[in-house]
């Protein structure tokens, strides 16, 4: 399973970031092989539409599950439409998060952080 965790700096040792769209980077983990890769988030400084762009980015990377502190409404809609599961980052380190994830102890995120303007699904 390919899991993406939002992290606070472009480093494999960075702690989890509490926001998905504008997180500086993602730690991409293949939980089957244990392989880890850090990818800078192209949307971190986007003037607008960061959530959509970050979601497109992790989808492109073949992610199947995302762990972050919170997901904005647009990021949530895009990830949900792509069938990607979202989990709440409720631990201090990525190792703890991954362990809890594999034990099935992470809370599933159902709904965006604030649904001010939900994307209009047209299909």
């Amino acid at each position: 399973m390919n899991v993406a965790i939002s992290i606070t700096t472009i480093s494999p040792d960075a702690p989890p970031d509490m926001h998905f769209g504008r997180a500086p980077a993602f730690l991409l983990v293949d939980t089957d092989t244990g392989q880890r890769q850090v990818a800078a988030n192209p949307a971190t400084g986007a003037p607008g539409g960061a959530g959509v762009q970050a979601a497109e980015f992790v989808i492109q990377k073949g992610t199947e599950a995302v762990i972050s502190g919170s997901f904005g409404p647009k990021a949530y809609d895009v990830l949900a439409a792509a069938g990607i599961s979202m989990y709440r980052a409720s631990a201090e380190t990525v190792d703890d998060l991954l362990r809890r994830y594999q034990e099935g102890k992470l809370e599933r995120v159902e709904g965006a952080a604030s649904a001010t303007d939900k994307g209009r699904s047209q299909r």
């Binding site: 607008g48 979601a55 895009v78 069938g83 699904s121 047209q122 299909r123």
Partner: protein
Amino acid sequence: MIVAVASGKGGTGKTTVATSLALSLAPHTPIHFLDCDVEAPNAHLFLKPEIEQGIPATLPTPVIDEGACSLCGRCAEVCQYHAITQVGGAVLVFPDLCHGCGSCVINCPEGAIREEPRPLGMLESGHVQAALEFAHGILDTGQPLAVPVIRQLRWWKPPHPDVLTIIDSPPGTSCPVVDTIRGADYVLLVTEPTPFGLHDLRLAYQLTQEMHLPAGVIINRDGIGDAGVLEFCADHDLPVLMRIPLDEGLAKGLAQGIPLVKLRPDYLSRFRQMFKMIARRRKEPA
């Protein structure tokens, strides 16, 4: 002639100046007053126009014909604002990210995208007096895009060669201000004589330089702060056209929506004198 009243910093007195300039020159000069500060229009509080007309301000926003869409992803690829994305078997449109550029419509190979007007706000117009026409734009609460409303306001009420257009600009130096002061013959920069005022005046002045627009400064709340603004103006040959002192009586009256020239009629002639100066300045070769 078009005179725009701008500032870097907000709350410096743009509307105080713009409305009093208009009231000083009308009725002798026919005036068209445009409040382009669509995020917080407030000139009507001073001018109290009778609103006669109103039209919605809209932005063309894509709507996808699901039957015709082949899920090629071209629209999402060309959208610079990430307003369209295609994931799996779905095309998602986020209208509030859309800038209405039309790239998705032009690039769709299936002709599956049409545009529908999305309401952003309202444009209203009316009269303050026979020779003083008024119009403003009102951006809906929660809408992030001020520029399309400003552009539509300026298209709706285009400048006329025989009429003096006075424009009340939004604060700052970003896109809404650029669109507001574009085409102005003169920009009045209202500031306060404080380090904060100077910081933002410098940015606003750089913007007028970049846009090749002649500018002059009005210092409001004069008597506070320091000499920084005056020194900056002297160093950059930027004329200080008027200084309005900080005065509790003025502040109280303005807070009740009473125009400066009604509170202090001596400003009528000061604004007229100032306008003569900038009209002359405009005729000088650059």
